[in-house]
Symmetry: none
Subunit: 211 residues, 4 copies
């Protein structure tokens, strides 16, 4: 009897307590993992490091993720999922290739500045060796870009250049410029996006000059 009452109370609280704690635990793990990965880098991070950051027991980790790799991917995907819809919307509303590019770069550089922490995770320093990592969701995001470029070429908006290399160029620039940007004292995503866009559109001679 008392048991039923207790359950009823729980039921009134909105979503079942079970579901609530489950979500909370998942979040706790992800939050802890984000911090630890950023601090130690993927390779050096252990599952124990992650759970230590939550109040949970080590075994509990495995109720939520199958492995260290899985959390890491969940984390990356989370980032990508946040950015991808923005990118998609931007693409849809772009009226020219230049606008399209500028929109892309803006979103990415803004994301990098805002979500510094997650970004650092992709650029962890273990010892002397700088490492950069790309996960499937990130790669999927790039693939979308590729599709859009192909599409743009078909529709005559983008000149019919080597689409693979163009995608590569955009991605390479995006990551590498982002890296420099965040190391500067006062990161300016607008300037970065302008630089990148004008480089693609008109080459070095069209790039805004340094004041």
């Amino acid at each position: 009897m008392s048991t039923i009452e207790t359950t009823a109370n729980k039921a009134n609280q909105g979503p079942g307590k079970r579901e609530q704690t489950k979500a909370a635990n998942r979040k706790a793990i992800l939050d802890a993992a984000r911090g630890v990965f950023a601090q130690l880098g993927y390779g050096a991070t252990t599952v124990r490091d992650i759970i230590r950051g939550t109040g949970l027991a080590s075994g509990t980790f495995y109720n939520y993720f199958k492995s260290k790799e899985e959390v890491f991917q969940a984390l990356m995907d989370e980032s990508a999922l946040r950015v991808r819809p923005q990118l998609k919307q931007e693409r849809l509303k772009a009226k020219s290739f230049e606008e399209f590019l500028y929109g892309m770069f803006s979103i990415f550089f803004n994301y990098v500045v805002e979500d510094h922490r997650a970004y650092e995770m992709m650029r962890a320093n273990s010892g002397q060796i700088r490492v950069r990592m790309d996960t499937p969701e990130v790669i999927a995001g790039f693939d979308e870009l590729r599709v859009d470029i192909d599409d743009g070429i078909t529709r005559g908006i983008v000149p019919p250049v080597d689409a693979g290399y163009l995608t590569a160029t955009l991605i390479g620039m995006a990551f590498e410029i982002a890296d420099r940007m965040v190391q500067r004292d006062d990161p300016d995503p607008v300037a970065a996006a302008k630089f990148a866009t004008s480089m693609i559109v008109g080459g070095i001679n069209k790039v805004p000059l340094e004041k």
Copy 2:
């Protein structure tokens, strides 16, 4: 008499058997390491994986290198040392910024095609995660590039754009385009170098079109 001669000869005989095996062992370790790093990625590679790839005993590894990191750096430096002098020479003989760029990209893309194995090492797939690693020698190479660009700007050969972002652009493009290139059936470093150069020089509208 003959004894004296023999002794004399001995002294001049070139490397003794000891030195020969030492050199051979060092090479064996480096070769094995190159393969394993390329296959498993730096993080996932263990010292034991490397020695397993040679016929040597586990302890022998430590006669040649203090750690996994040390072999890795030896390997990277080896590559960088091979490429950097070429790059330097190219820089010296370049008469315009365009020539300079084309020379750089050519050398790099040719290196990637020729020394596939070493390049893969810098771009290992460990599990699902793509990784790029930069060692001190590689970073030093980047710094040289940066210095050259600054120099070019001073001398009026390169437009006075944001030199950091320009360097980032060149490096990002080089790696990312190289990646696509080696995945193609018939990698063409000349085409890649032309693409990259013309993108920088005149932007997308000056890039050679697909046939």
Copy 3:
């Protein structure tokens, strides 16, 4: 209602199965360690020797002790903790220096005979070399003895001799005589205690003669 009771009972139920196994494992490790240390000596004993002596997995050792040294000290402390209270009580009830000495030696020699195994641990034969080891608890025991002697001198019960050398004499005799005693066919702690006591009290001429 009944639920509440059950829960309450549970809380008071005594050690759960978990606690039981934990205690059992700890004991297993200590027992194994005692045996191995006695057999091989401290220096030659490895953590693996110890765990091999239990049915446990190698990693499990580290759930209980951080190192070989830590088990060893736990073992020594265990012994010392068993003997020290007895010694203390004896000290308190002793009415003369002779009684005090006799009490001390009795307890020690009895302990050695009874707890042969633990004593051997302090006097291990590793190879040809006989070794004696003193841990902090043991040393603390010695210090107590020293304090008592100083105290006895102050109170006029013990002649004002060099207290450090007197302590040294008692300790040296105790260990060395114990060694001989346990090698004899029928160890007689009473005889040993009488010998030691009378040697201290009256010198060789007061020592009971051999029959």
Copy 4:
């Protein structure tokens, strides 16, 4: 012919050069070992530590000693061999048991003060645990003592007490008092010998009092 001449030259130099270097190497190893054992303790010392202290190659060690244990014993025996003849002489000239004891203790305590280094080796500190080691030669020295005591009893010079326990008493006192003595600011072997002798001869009441 020339060979003979060469040999002759060497022969004039005293012992053959071979024998000379052999002896020198042996000495070098022993000297190095003495220092290292004293510094690191027996357990922590490696063969490499020892040879590092000589100019020799690691393999050469094994031309002189079969193992680490063997050097250690050689070292201990060397000490014992230095002391034993002195003890023997003392024994022979002693006219009473008291003289005999005093002679023994004097020699031992003097040896300890003089040869601090070697003595520390027997009392190495590894971590928290004090260790004392006795080697066969040392034990042999003690056995001689035992024989002398038996002999003294037979000849009526020593009271017919338990000879084993008496020997144990002498040894225990000797080592333990020596230990305290060397820790004092100004070690006084004469005082220590007087203390020990009078303790044995007349018990605590005959021991010289502290000034």
